[in-house]
């Protein structure tokens, strides 16, 4: 098991290096010169040429690439062309904001999605099943952009329950320690701010959770239906075991593996794909950070941002693979 884990982690390195090459090639292929963007619409030709040279962007691409890899191996993600700050220093607050949002969204998605799937399966072809599956279909096909604006309109403006945008009340800002505000506010004993943070999280995390809820519910329903047809479940039910235990202990445990895989994939997708939600809710996360960087042709930020998301994505997949062992003792990673 340990050997397997170590091997998987080591295998990350070539994958990530391959990633850097692909990302590097793609972003250098898109037209648009960072120097031009930095200096703005009003810059002279000479200024653009000078700055291009100063940023080292006029050198052959392979030299730029090797320089990038060299500093990467030293743990240096480079310097943002836009802010002129080391990316190592400035990326964490954005990443933390997205992590917080994603984790909350995934918790919502898992709790609602798995339970809705179970209930639908248990009462398959009932009214609950039909409604849940229609909702799931709507959930998968709903444009997040539209959903976010509708949420704001309904729950913020009409009902006045929740704030529309941001992570905190800007008139009463939070002192960041870890940049995970749920933790920071509790740590500082600011319970009022903790509540504010939760309120700010509700709408964007629901918007973000919509698609995963639907996917997880459908997957759970499908696998649960399979499992519930099996003999041992029939036996368990015949023995008169309480329904709750049949579902949550015996059936779920065997149905959960494909669901876990989906959860892992969805989490990774959310990390990178939160751009729309973050834009609508003005959430200062990694999605917005990357999106702005692309508009700005901030090459080092694009490279490093995608690299970090890719690394997290791969790690999540590794964790999911390892979780299989705990859920299903039949799975063993020996070799």
């Amino acid at each position: 098991m340990l050997t397997y884990t170590v091997r998987r982690i080591l295998a990350l390195i070539p994958v990530l290096i391959g990633m850097t090459l692909v990302v590097f090639a793609i972003i250098h292929a898109i037209p648009g010169n960072p120097a031009q963007v930095i200096l703005g619409q009003r810059a002279t030709k000479e200024a653009v040429a000078n700055l291009t040279a100063q940023l080292g962007l006029d050198r052959p691409w392979y030299i730029q690439y090797f320089d990038y890899i060299k500093s990467l191996l030293h743990g240096d993600l480079g310097i943002s062309l836009e802010t002129r700050l080391p990316i190592n220093e400035e990326i964490w607050p954005y990443l933390a904001a997205t992590l917080e949002l994603t984790v909350v969204a995934m918790i919502i998605a898992i709790v609602i999605g798995v339970n809705a799937g179970i209930i639908s399966a248990w009462f398959s072809n009932s009214w609950f099943d039909y409604i849940a599956m229609v909702l799931a279909l709507i959930g998968v096909s709903m444009p997040i952009f539209w959903l976010g604006l509708m949420e704001q309109w309904a729950f913020s403006i009409e009902l006045g329950w929740l704030p529309t945008t941001g992570r905190e009340d800007v008139r009463d800002p939070i002192t960041a320690i870890t940049n995970l505000y749920l933790i920071d506010t509790l740590f500082q004993g600011r319970f009022d701010q903790f509540i504010t943070v939760i309120k700010h999280l509700v709408l964007p995390s629901i918007a973000l959770a919509t698609i995963p809820i639907a996917i997880i519910a459908r997957m759970t329903r499908a696998t649960m239906l399979e499992v519930m047809k099996s003999d041992y479940i029939r036996t368990a039910r015949a023995k008169g075991l309480r329904m709750f235990w049949v579902v949550y202990k015996h059936s779920l445990k065997n149905a959960i593996i494909p669901v876990l895989t989906v959860i892992g994939l969805q989490t990774g997708m959310l990390l990178g794909g939160a751009i729309l939600t973050e834009t609508i809710f003005s959430w200062p996360g990694i999605g917005r950070y990357l999106y702005d960087a692309i508009g700005y042709r901030d090459y080092p930020v694009i490279q490093s941002g995608i690299l970090i998301i890719a690394a997290i994505f791969i790690l999540i997949n590794l964790i999911v693979d390892l979780l299989y062992v705990f859920v299903d003792p039949r799975i063993k990673y020996t070799k």
Binding site: Q36, R42, S156, P163, T164, G166, D169, V202, I294
Partner: protein
Amino acid sequence: MKKKSFKLLLISLLAISVFLVGCNSKTNNETDGKKDPGTSNGSKKDTLVYGRGGDSTSLDPITTTEGEAFKVTENIYETLLEYGEQDTTIKPGLAKEWTASDDGLTYTFKLQQGVKFHDGTEFNADAVVFNFNRWMNGNDEKFPYYTMFGGYKADDGHVIKEVKAVDKNTVQFILKRPQAPFLKNLAMSPFGIASPTAVEKWGDDFRSHPVGTGPFKFVEWKKKDRIVVEKNQDYWQKGLPKLNKIIFRVIPENAARLNALAKGEIDVMDGLNNSDEEKVKSNDKLQIIERPSMNVGYIGLTNTRKPFDNKLVRQAINHAVDKKAIIDAFYGGKALSAKNPMPPSIEGYNDAIQEYPYDLEKAKALLKEAGYEKGFKMELWAMPVARPYMPEAQKVAEVIQESLSKIGVTAEIKSVDWATYLEKATKGEFDAFMLGWTGDNGDPDNFIYTLLDKDSIGSNNYAYYSNDELHTNLIEAQTETDQAKRNELYKKAQEIIHEDAPWVPLVHSTPLLAASKDVLNYVPHPTGSECLSKVEFK
């Protein structure tokens, strides 16, 4: 068994509703309680939250040309001269009075006394000299807007020979040759006077640690989220600023920003879509604020590409665009139809020019004369971003496409992301494209020379228009100090441009802002950024 799970379902539904009710009551408590710190101690609101679409790129205004940056720095720094409240006439700023020699080569400024930078150091003639020396010793990557003075220290075109401190409160500018818009340039946001001590202390990092003499002091910058400035208690203009704090918040999406305004999370929103004007008007808690127009939105016809190298074709296209329909549909009727490359609010505007009327028959006749009787195919590039002068480029392009089809011209609408768009335009790779300009200093030179002189090809003359007669005329106007003579030169320039028709000038728009009703004295400036020292709450 089924019964039990049904119970389970009911219980979870109940739990969810309890949670939602809980949310509701908590929100109410909070709105009653400490939503605004200003109200808690019995006094009125004094923190303004300003919502805008993008973040600043730098807080050292001379290092950028990006308009978003100046919205903040206008409040932190002051310039030697200031513009009028809603125009670009020259008013005293850090300099309380000034004289110019008859030959237009020496300007002497008397400075305000007793002014202090936010770091406590004194503002004086030496500080002015320090700032100008810093800029002129730089280059156009470091201080791009300094080219307004004709280049840098080593450049031939550089207008300023020397800036010297005559005494503690008098500073003198000696020019190599007269520069007509010199005083107007001094009042531009990028030339805010910074604390020499702070510039030396922070070096390159000064861009995120700004120190000026303005009404507000810098507090915090959370990138892509907010910039906070607070009242400068020692501000030299008594009774100002009225606000205690301003928070500039970034909310990229226009619709989301309007939601935040309706909810009271922000007090002012920049960049309101014209199409949302009615929505704001119907909300009795909100008000519309109109920014005076000092811009032009246009369709550039790249003059070096076929068939736009033919003047007759360009004139035909001018006849084929129905500006009135466009203004009614996409600007809420709130824009002026453009006939010149600069707006009428600017001195030297030639009102005698007759606009090319919307006349498809005339357009067809011109095309026939040019040898394109059967029409032609072209690409029409539409901007991917909304700008005050062009809020909905894509839709405007569709209307134009429709008109052009009636004269046999097939226009294919294309778009690409903003960075690429500007690069392609700079290289002259478009047949026809939409763009615009907001004036920097209210001088005609800043429109006509910047946008259409042959010197500006490769920078802002995206139409690649070149006319030697116009060039001679514009260069003469740059050094002419007699305003009446200058105006004549610019009027002539507009005639030449009208005849050559390098663009289809479309509109001079009125950009809109929205604010909550209790915001008072918000006076927007035509340049696009204003000092908020007089703003207060009811």
